[in-house]
C-alpha cells in the first residue's frame, strides 16, 4: 500500500521538508509551555522529541495533530499551513500512549475506522484493512476485540489503524509506555524497521533516552518548552550542545575548570581545546575514562562502589577533591574487577571528546 514512496535515504538531503514547524509557541494561561520551537522533518525521517515530563514534547505533538491550536508560529505539512485545517482533515496519524483502541470494535473494524469515516467503498476498504493487518502481521486477528489482545498486538493494531489512511506524518506518543521492558526492546527495533520500510515521515515522543537512540534519525532534546539541540543520535551522544543535553542523555561526569588561551587543562594533565575563557564546566562520558590501579597518575581517588551492567563494569570513584566520578570499563574475563576501596587514578582516553560548557 505504501511501497510506492521513495526510500528515505535517497531523499533526505534534497527534497523539501514534509513537516515544517516554525517558531511555535503555546501558553496555558500565563505559563509558557512551548517557546519558539522550530523543526523541519524530511521525507521518511524519524525525529524524536525527547525530554523529561513537562518539557512540552506532548504539547508540540498535539499541536501538530491539531488537538489544540498553537498560540504563535506555523505548522506546515507539504508546504500547506495547518492552522485552519481541523483535526479530522489533517494528513496526520497518531499512535496514542495507551493506543486508544475502540474497545467496542473488533480489530478489523478498528483498523477500518478511518476508511468508513471517509466513506470508502466496502470492497476497497476491506482490501486496505487486510493489507494493513498483513503489514503489522496481525492477519487472523480480525474478529478479536482489543481486550483480547496482548500489549504488543494492541500496539500493532494502533499502527495498522493509522497506516490504512496513509498519513503524510505519523505521530507516536510514547507508544512503548504500556509494554514491559523486555518486549519494549524488540518492539522498538520492529517498529523502526516497519516505519523505515514504509518510508513514513514520523515524529516520535518519548522521555526514554534509550528508546530515542534506537528509534531516531534525529533527536530533538527539549527542555522547558524549548528545543535545546537537534542532531543525529551519535552526535547528541558524543557532542551534546549543552550541559543539559549531556546530563539528560547517557551517563556523564561534570567538574569545574578554568579555560585560558583557547584551552582548558584536564585534571589528568592533558588539555582540551575550547573557545571559551574563564570558569567552565567539563564533561566526560564514563567510557572516555580509564581506571588505573595504584596512585601513579595525577587524578587520584578510591573506588567507592562498582556494579556490572551486562558487558560493562561501572565504577564510582571518590576523588581526592570530594567529587564522585563514574568510569565504565569493558568486562574482561581475564581481569578481576578492581575491588572497592582500592586506590586508583583516572586518565582521560580522548581529550577531544570532553565537552566544555560555560559555567
Amino acid at each position: 500500500m505504501m511501497q510506492g514512496r521513495p526510500g528515505p535515504a535517497t531523499k533526505i538531503a534534497t527534497a523539501a521538508p514534509v513537516l515544517r514547524i516554525g517558531a511555535v509557541s503555546k501558553y496555558f494561561g500565563t505559563f509558557k509551555v512551548l517557546e519558539d520551537c522550530s523543526l523541519e522533518v524530511a521525507e521518511g525521517e524519524i525525529v524524536t522529541l525527547l525530554g523529561p515530563s513537562g518539557c512540552g514534547k506532548t504539547t508540540l505533538l498535539r499541536a501538530i495533530a491539531g488537538f489544540w491550536e498553537a498560540d504563535g508560529g506555523t505548522i506546515e505539512i507539504d508546504g500547506q499551513e495547518m492552522a485552519r485545517v481541523p483535526v479530522n482533515h489533517r494528513p496526520v496519524g497518531v499512535v496514542f500512549q495507551s493506543y486508544a483502541l475502540f474497545p467496542h470494535l473488533t480489530v478489523e473494524r478498528n483498523v477500518g475506522y478511518a476508511l468508513r469515516m471517509r466513506g470508502l467503498p466496502r470492497a476497497e476498504s476491506e482490501a486496505r484493512v487486510a493489507a494493513a493487518l498483513e503489514t503489522v502481521s496481525l492477519t487472523g486477528f480480525e474478529n478479536r476485540y482489543p481486550a483480547q489482545l496482548s500489549g504488543g498486538q494492541q500496539q500493532r493494531v494502533a499502527m495498522a489503524r493509522v497506516l490504512v489512511m496513509e498519513p503524510r506524518v505519523l505521530l507516536l506518543d510514547e507508544p512503548f509506555n504500556a509494554l514491559d521492558a523486555k518486549l519494549r526492546g524488540t518492539m522498538q527495533v520492529e517498529l523502526r524497521q516497519l516505519i523505515k520500510r514504509l518510508g513514513l515521515t514520523s515524529i516520535f515522543v518519548t522521555h526514554d533516552q534509550e528508546e530515542a537512540l534506537t528509534m531516531s534519525d534525529r533527536i530533538a532534546v527539549m527542555r522547558a518548552g524549548r528545543i535545546e539541540q537537534v542532531a543525529p543520535p551519535d552526535e547528541i551522544f558524543d557532542r551534546p550542545a549543552t550541559a543539559y543535553v549531556a546530563d539528560f542523555i547517557g551517563t556523564s561526569n561534570f567538574w569545574a575548570a578554568r579555560a585560558e588561551a583557547g584551552a582548558v587543562r584536564l585534571p589528568d594533565g592533558q588539555s582540551a581545546v575550547t573557545t571559551l575563557t574563564g570558569d567552565v564546566r567539563l564533561m566526560a562520558r564514563p567510557h572516555n575514562l580509564r581506571l588505573e590501579v595504584g596512585d601513579a597518575g595525577p587524578w587520584r581517588g578510591r573506588v567507592a562502589f562498582h556494579r556490572s551492567i551486562g558487558p560493562l563494569v561501572e565504577y564510582h570513584v571518590d576523588m581526592a577533591d570530594g567529587a564522585t566520578i563514574k568510569v565504565a570499563a569493558m568486562r574482561q574475563s581475564i581481569d578481576r574487577p578492581v575491588a572497592d576501596g582500592a586506590p586508583v587514578s583516572i586518565r582521560i582516553v580522548d581529550p577531544a571528546l570532553c565537552a566544555v560548557y560555560p559555567h
Binding site: 483535526v87 479530522n88 476485540y145
Partner: protein
C-alpha cells in the same frame, strides 16, 4: 532497636479481633447479615403479609380475623376490571415517556460534560446534584408556583400578549409529565456521566484523528460506549417514575390516577387491603418485566464486553 525486638513473636489476637478479621475476610455473607435482618423485618415480612391478604378471603367478626382461606378472586377481579387496565396503562405511558424525555434532555448534558472544560464539568455536576439536596415534595411544590393559573408561565405568556386567559396546565397530564421529567433528570444524567467518563478521553481524539466528524464520533464511539449508562439511567428513571406517588398526587390534582395513587386510595380511603395488595403485586411484576427488557436491550448493545476475559 534490635532485631530481636522486632522478631519477637506476635501476641495471639483476642477473640474479638479474630471475629472481626473473619468478618472482613469476605468469606460468606456475614458482613451483610445486619442489613439482611433489617430488610427481613421491615420489608420482606410485611410484604409477605400483604401478599397473603391479596390471595385470601377474610372473614372479620368483632374486629378480629375469623377465617382466612386461599382465593384467587381478588386477582381475577383486578384483571377483569377496566379501571385497572386504564390506570396501569396510564402509569406505564407516563413512566416510559418520562424515561424517553429524560434521555433526550439528559444525554446532551452528559455529552457536554464529556467534551467540556473543567468549569463546564463542575457547573454541570453542581446543577445536577443540587436539586437532589432538596426533597422531591419541595421541588414538586415549586412547580405549582410555576405552572399555576397565576404562575410564572401563564403570567409571562399573558404579559407578552400571546394568550388572554391563563391556560390550564396544573392538574393535567402535562403538568405531571413536566414535573416527573424535572425530578428524575439527575437520575438519568449521573449514570450517563459516570459511564462516559470511565473511558479514555483519547478515544474521542483518536476518532477525530482518524477523520471522523464530531457527529461521526458521537454516533460511532461515544453513543455505543455509553449504552450501559443509558441502560442504568433508563432502569432507574423508569422504576422511580412508574411507582411514583408524590408528583401525580400534587401536580395531577386529586383525581389523577396512576398505579401508586390508586393503591394509596385503596388502602387509605376505601380500606380494601386485598385490592391494594393485588395492585402492588401487579405493579411490581410489570415493573420487573420492563426492567428485564431494558437489561436485555443493554446486553444486546454491549456484546463486545463479553469477550473481555476470554
Amino acid at each position: 532497636m534490635s532485631y530481636a525486638a522486632i522478631l519477637r513473636p506476635i501476641a495471639r489476637p483476642g477473640l474479638g479481633e479474630r471475629l472481626i478479621d473473619a468478618l472482613l475476610s469476605g468469606r460468606g455473607i456475614w458482613p451483610a447479615v445486619p442489613a439482611i435482618i433489617v430488610l427481613t423485618v421491615v420489608a420482606v415480612i410485611p410484604f409477605v403479609i400483604l401478599l397473603s391478604l391479596g390471595f385470601s378471603d377474610i372473614v372479620v367478626s368483632r374486629g378480629e380475623i375469623a377465617s382466612q382461606t386461599f382465593s384467587l378472586d381478588h386477582l381475577r377481579n383486578a384483571l377483569t376490571d377496566p379501571l385497572y387496565w386504564t390506570t396501569f396503562q396510564r402509569s406505564l405511558t407516563l413512566a416510559l415517556s418520562t424515561t424517553a424525555l429524560c434521555l433526550v434532555f439528559g444525554y446532551p448534558v452528559a455529552y457536554l460534560f464529556l467534551v467540556g472544560g473543567r468549569w463546564t464539568k463542575r457547573l454541570i455536576l453542581v446543577l445536577t446534584i443540587a436539586p437532589l439536596l432538596t426533597s422531591g415534595i419541595v421541588r414538586t411544590y415549586a412547580w405549582l408556583v410555576i405552572l399555576g393559573g397565576r404562575g410564572v408561565v401563564n403570567s409571562t405568556l399573558m404579559g407578552l400578549g400571546m394568550i388572554d386567559q391563563p391556560i390550564r396546565i396544573m392538574n393535567t397530564h402535562w403538568a405531571v409529565l413536566i414535573g416527573m421529567v424535572q425530578i428524575h433528570l439527575p437520575v438519568m444524567i449521573l449514570p450517563l456521566i459516570a459511564v462516559m467518563s470511565r473511558h479514555d478521553s483519547r478515544l474521542v481524539e483518536a476518532s477525530e484523528n482518524l477523520g471522523a466528524s464530531r457527529l461521526g464520533t458521537l454516533r460511532t464511539v461515544i453513543l455505543p460506549l455509553s449504552v450501559p449508562g443509558i441502560g442504568t439511567g433508563a432502569a432507574l428513571v423508569f422504576t422511580l417514575s412508574y411507582t411514583t406517588f408524590v408528583v401525580p398526587q400534587l401536580l395531577g390534582g386529586g383525581n389523577y390516577l396512576n398505579a401508586a395513587t390508586m393503591i394509596y386510595e385503596q388502602v387509605v380511603y376505601s380500606l380494601e387491603w386485598s385490592k391494594g395488595s393485588v395492585s402492588s403485586l401487579i405493579l411490581m411484576v410489570t415493573c420487573l418485566i420492563v426492567l428485564v427488557a431494558i437489561a436485555l436491550a443493554t446486553n444486546h448493545f454491549t456484546r463486545w464486553t463479553r469477550g473481555r476475559d476470554a
